[in-house]
């Protein structure tokens, strides 16, 4: 992930991930856990490179759940959910965005470090979104 400078536009290589929610009893679950948020302590985030990054990160993936089958990985930073930006969200707002009862499918834009390196290796330093 690029270095985060507050106030400047953020450039990142993202991957589209589409997760179909699974119905379990009365709930629709996605099968992963999130951490982070602008109201949380960024220093305790084990997955971020920059310890001032207050974005939403995937902290756990339930094995066999819909997130795992959709190739979401632990440590991914969620940039967008269904078109809504997640980089400046409180923890609770992020949770609400992901657990809307009237949506069956969530389309995420996630970024991870290996993506950037893969792009660098293949394009020889030229990034594009």
């Amino acid at each position: 992930m690029s270095n985060f400078i507050p106030g400047q536009p953020l450039v990142a290589v993202v991957q589209r991930i589409e997760i179909k929610k699974l119905r379990q009893g009365d709930n629709l679950i996605l099968g992963f856990s999130i951490g982070g948020g602008i109201d949380q302590d960024p220093g305790q985030n084990p997955f971020s490179d920059d310890k001032a990054d207050k974005g939403i990160y995937v902290t756990r993936i339930t094995p066999g759940g819909p997130a795992e089958t959709a190739d979401l990985r632990m440590g991914d930073k969620i940039m967008q959910v269904n078109g809504y930006d997640m980089t400046m969200m409180t923890h609770d707002q992020a949770r609400k965005r992901l657990t809307k009862k009237n949506e069956d499918v969530v389309r995420l834009l996630v970024t991870r470090k290996s993506l950037e390196e893969a792009v660098k290796n293949s394009m020889g330093g030229h990034q594009r979104q």
């Binding site: 679950i29 992963f32 999130i34 982070g36 109201d39 949380q40 949770r95």
Partner: protein, 530 residues
């Protein structure tokens, strides 16, 4: 206890050191007498029958094998081994010779200063009275009569003299704690100041009042009052110089005993070296565990064993090296040979220590059980029971004697294992037992004084092994303590090495924190599953 300073830099100008000069000779004789060759291997030791501090239960192992004098005393090597017999017999010799000529010279000096002080005190006290009385004796007709104010001043003089008398008695007429080698500089200065002062007052009085036969009696009385006031101020100066100045701690001294490395730290104020030494010695008697020469024999025998097997021969023949070079090469050869030899003494030390530890613990366990059992036989009898049943009642001493035999053996074995048996005599143990019984102490409290070595004052005088001290110092003993100064307090068996360090100057600044500025935020890292 008397102290001496052996100080080589100054010649003995000071009149006070008359006595100490003589003592210096004697102490040097004793030192030569004592520092004989200790690493000779002969086992014969000649013991001079000494006045008894009788050891525990007539234990004869302390005195060495032979109690009677050897027949061919002149022919055999009188050598002393490095065990406790050595220092005990030396101490007895020292004690005998010391008692014979005990402090003759020093008493002389003490009486001299005492008489001087008394004479000066009388002079100072009688001066105002003389000032007041002399006009009445010498020119009574011419003298103006004393009015009211004048008579009021009489009362003032009387009370001020009384206060001065009490103050001088409180400050100066205390029994001396010690005899110091050099004169106490501040006291001498104060004495000189007082004498000068009184002399100048007398001079003025003689010239301006006696000669002219002044008839203004009130003026004379006021003059006497001013003298007494000034004397009170000099007394205030004396308090500040002698008592108050050294109260604020300025130096931290580290006192280390040379034989076993016991170390203590004390805070002292600005004192002269001899006064600092006195303060340190007073702390020594209360803080340092008693010096036990029996504990040092093990390391001495180990040290002897290190070099016992090596002999160095000079094959190059005599006379081609300087003596210093020869000694240097010899010692290098010995060190090299010792390093090459496979030395297993550390192994022995380790196992010996472990074995000794185990033995001490075993004996201690037996001792504790024996003492606890012995104490159960004794019960304090109440007053009512005494009237009802006339059993055999005992006072504490008899009770102690009754229960002592059951624990005596265990106690003796324990003391012998920890090498303390010469510190406690049977009589002292029974006395301590009676004391504990009287004061309702538990067996553990009774044993406490035998389980660990207590401070020197706890033991009787004959076991102190530390009664007369010599101050050895580079700087003059009347000069003040300074940072990094080192001096030694030498006793017959050991010495205390004292090093001084100055307490640093502390620069403190302040910072104000508003109590309302203490604010906190909650920093969370929650994890929610979606």
């Amino acid at each position: 206890m008397d102290t001496e300073s052996t100080y080589s830099g100054y010649s003995y100008y000071s009149g006070r050191s008359r006595g100490s000069h003589r003592h210096g000779e004697r102490s040097r004789d004793r030192d030569r007498h004592k520092s004989r060759n200790k690493d000779s291997r002969s086992e014969k030791s000649v013991t001079i029958n000494s006045p008894p501090a009788e050891p525990l239960l007539g234990d004869s192992s302390v005195r060495g094998g032979e109690q009677v004098q050897d027949d061919n005393w002149g022919e055999t090597t009188t050598a002393v081994t490095g065990t406790s017999e050595h220092s005990l017999s030396q101490e007895d010799i020292v004690r005998i010779t010391k008692d014979l000529e005990d402090s003759v010279g020093l008493d002389c000096r003490r009486y001299f200063t005492l008489t001087l002080a008394v004479v000066m005190g009388l002079l100072v006290f009688l001066t105002p009275v003389a000032f007041l009385v002399l006009p009445h004796l010498l020119w009574p007709e011419k003298l103006q009569s004393c009015g009211t104010a004048c008579e009021g001043l009489f009362i003032s003089v009387a009370f001020k003299l009384l206060i001065l008398l009490l103050a001088v008695w409180a400050l100066f007429f205390r029994s001396p704690r010690a005899g110091l080698p050099r004169v106490f500089v501040f006291r001498a200065l104060l004495a000189v100041l007082v004498l000068l002062f009184v002399m100048s007052y007398w001079l003025f009085y003689g010239v301006r009042i006696l000669d002219t036969q002044d008839d203004n009696y009130q003026g004379i009385v006021q003059y006497a009052v001013s003298l007494v006031d000034a004397l009170l101020f000099i007394h205030y100066l004396a308090i500040v110089l002698l008592e108050l100045r050294q109260l604020q701690p300025c130096f931290s001294v580290c006192v280390m005993r040379s034989t076993d490395g016991e170390k203590r730290h004390y805070n002292l104020g600005q004192l002269s070296i001899q006064r600092a030494a006195l303060a340190i010695l007073e702390h020594y008697y209360c803080d340092f565990p008693v010096h036990n020469p029996a504990l040092l024999s093990a390391s001495k025998s180990r040290a002897a064993k290190h070099l016992a097997g090596l002999k160095v021969y000079n094959v190059d023949g005599p006379g081609n090296n300087a003596a210093a070079g020869m000694a240097h090469s010899q010692s290098r050869a010995m060190i090299a040979a010792a390093a090459r030899r496979r030395d297993t003494s550390h192994n022995e030390l380790y196992y010996e220590d472990a074995e000794h530890e185990r033995r001490v613990r075993k004996r201690k366990a037996r001792l504790v059980v024996a003492v606890e059992e012995a104490f159960t036989h004794i019960k304090r009898m109440q007053e009512e029971e005494q009237k009802k049943t006339p059993v055999d009642v005992m006072d504490p001493r008899e009770a102690a004697q009754a229960i002592f035999p059951s624990m005596a053996r265990a106690l003796q074995k324990y003391l012998r294992t920890t090498k303390q048996q010469h510190c406690h005599s049977m009589e002292s143990i029974q006395q301590h037992l009676a004391f504990c019984i009287t004061n309702n102490m538990t067996p553990k409290a009774f044993l406490e004084s035998y389980l660990s070595a207590g401070p020197t004052l706890q033991y009787s005088r004959s076991h102190w092994l530390a009664r007369q001290w010599t101050l050895i110092s580079d700087a003059s003993v009347t000069s003040g303590l300074s940072d990094g100064c080192v001096f030694q307090l030498k006793c017959v068996d050991f010495s205390l090495v004292v090093t001084t360090k100055k307490i640093p100057y502390i620069q403190m600044s302040e910072e104000y924190i508003d109590p309302k500025s203490h604010k906190f935020v909650l920093r969370l890292q929650s994890e929610t599953s979606v």
